[in-house]
Amino acid sequence: MEYNEILNPGLYNYWVVIFLMMVGFYIVIARGNLVKKLVGLNIFQTSVFVLYISIGKVTGGTAPIFGEGISVFSNPLPHVLILTAIVVGIATTALGLALVIRIRESYGSIEEEEIHAQEEDF
């Protein structure tokens, strides 16, 4: 890939996507706090939403609504797909947080290290 191509301002959103993806992924792996892990997971998923919405953009196109004198629309399908993915993401987060509450109830902690220590004693 040419140097100019990498700095192409049209690719700006893809750099945002990659940055968010890596940040989210890093938090999931590196943080020991169970809630923080879920936050990281959310950032990771959000990056994918941005990716899909970027794919749907058509240069010069307007919002996909019929109107006078409009002939170029952005592609509405990725938006619809990502709406589904957002709902899935919310469900996952809700379930994850519910699990964290139950873990806190039975272990008295939401730190991975302390939970591991308790499991080894068992």
Binding site: V28, L41, Q45, L51, V88, L95
Partner: protein
């Protein structure tokens, strides 16, 4: 009516799930679950019959034709997987009644059945759908209900196991969506067949294509627990309620393998798949997984955990078959998919019976258990022999087929490795048999007796199935070969 079978298969469990919540009675909920899973099984038998006589079934959601609308497309491959999933679902719901009453708190039982039905919906939906994004939605339906089901285990470690699975499962599913987004970017379609048509003209050296394949492979490998991405599996299987362990071990990873087959062979096609050089990587991981997971299984004292590690090893065999990229190899992979579902279901159902009577599946608590529960142990022995691959059991058929594939591909050392890893299976199966048959019971405790009949019958159905399909291979191997020829496209 028969034209609507593909959708009825999914709609019936989906609609029955909220019904269980509304009625709030655990006997009615169990009745509904049993009825629905039996109906699903009957429907999948009819679908398989239709597919074998009429060819591919294509069902358009709401009358919108593919590639615009969502299509349910059922050919030999998914008809076969639908049958496995719904059959295991039916067996497990007959079995589950006593086991669940014992292991799940009373107030959560109806919700348990709801989650079980949703899980069944998701797995059947993943199998039936011909739309790659729709597949993701069903994947999440099944995954979310699976996390809830696992967290219902008695031990508090079920909660952390479920949490860990949630994190890794969501990462896997998100990777799948990223890969799909890249494919959509290149082709503008989400329909699996349409994707194949548009991708088949492309060159395997396009970087976006390679990235998409990488994301899809890693995402699905997490879901199907390919070594070294299997870390969620041992805990999830160990601490989940017994019924759910049997169900998941036999279906969830198998459906993920099916999706992997679709991605590799139907979406990308053998040629692109070969050009990107992914097959040797998968072959390597599969072989390492076979050995490492089997070896770890030898050192486990918790039997459910031992069988969970054995599952990771068996997934290695399935993926090894697929990575040969020839008809014999892929059909070995597919036939082992069914065979492993049958034998692992039998083993885990036997664990459930022991859990029901003894309340533990740790080796030290099970000395001489065979004298108290002879029928359960006999069924476990049949399952164990299958895991090893002794002739006259299903395990032998798959290993034989795998070795044939290795010889066809001129890879004799791999055939040798398959035999060698089977020897490790002998060790871990024998360890439990020795404890169960040859150790004296610890005390004069007479409270432990044979499991109730409603648990023994499903267990023996699975045990006898693993012998029957080891002798009469027309149905299993025949269909698997048909499916493999279709996937690989008749190439040698």
């Amino acid at each position: 009516m028969t034209a609507h079978l593909p959708i009825l298969q999914i709609i019936i469990p989906l609609m029955a799930a909220p019904l269980c919540v509304v009625l709030r009675n655990r006997d009615i909920a169990w009745g509904i679950t049993l009825l629905v899973s039996l109906i699903s099984f009957a429907i999948s038998l009819m679908i398989l019959d239709q597919v074998l006589t009429q060819g591919v079934l294509s069902y358009f959601m709401g009358g919108w034709p593919a590639p615009w609308g969502i299509e349910f497309r059922i050919d030999v491959v998914n008809a076969y997987i639908l049958l496995i999933v719904s059959a295991i679902g039916a067996i497990v719901s007959i079995y589950g009644r006593h086991s669940i009453t014992r292991e799940i708190p009373r107030e959560q039982t109806t919700l348990f059945y709801t989650a079980f039905l949703l899980c069944l919906t998701g797995l059947l939906g993943m199998t039936a759908t011909g739309d790659a994004f729709n597949l993701f939605v069903f994947l999440e339906v099944s995954s979310l209900s699976t996390y809830a089901l696992i967290s219902l285990g008695k031990d508090r470690r079920a909660l952390t196991a479920s949490y860990q699975y949630l994190i890794m499962g969501t990462l896997g599913a998100t990777f799948y969506v990223i890969g799909l987004g890249l494919l959509y970017q290149m082709t503008g379609t989400l329909n699996i067949v349409d994707l194949h048509d548009k991708l088949s003209n492309m060159d395997g050296s396009i970087r976006t294509l390679q990235a998409a394949l990488a994301f899809l492979t890693v995402g699905l490998s997490l879901k199907l627990a390919l070594f070294p991405l299997h870390l969620w599996l041992p805990n999830a299987y160990t601490y989940a309620p017994s019924t759910i362990t049997a169900f998941l071990a036999a279906t969830a990873t198998k459906v993920a393998v099916y999706v992997m087959l679709r991605v590799f062979f139907t979406i990308f096609g053998v040629d692109i798949f070969e050009e990107t050089g992914l097959a040797p990587v998968i072959m390597g991981l599969a072989i390492v997984g076979m050995f490492v997971a089997s070896t770890v299984a030898v050192f486990q004292n918790n039997l459910k955990r031992m069988l969970a590690y054995s599952s990771v090893a068996q997934i290695g065999y399935i993926m090894l078959g697929i990575s040969f990229l020839n008809v014999t190899g892929v059909s070995a992979g597919i036939v082992h998919l069914l065979n492993h579902a049958v034998m692992k279901c039998a083993c885990f159902l036997a664990m459930g019976c022991i859990m029901y009577r003894v309340g533990s599946v740790r080796m030290e608590n099970l000395h001489g258990i065979a004298k108290k529960m002879p029928l359960t142990m006999a069924a476990f022995v049949i399952g164990g022999l299958s895991l090893i691959g002794v002739p006259l059991t299903v395990g032998f058929i798959s290993k034989w087929q795998l070795i044939l594939a290795a010889m066809q591909a001129d890879m004799m050392p791999i055939a040798f490795l398959i035999l060698l890893s089977s020897l490790i299976a002998v060790v871990y199966v024998w360890r439990f048999i020795e404890v169960a048959y040859f150790k004296a019971p610890a005390d004069g405790d007479t409270s432990v007796k044979e499991a109730p009949l409603s648990m023994l019958i499903p267990l023996w159905v699975m045990a006898l199935a693993s012998i029957y399909f080891g002798i009469d291979t027309d149905m299993t191997l025949g269909v698997a070969e048909l499916a493999a020829e279709m996937l690989v496209g008749g190439a040698p």
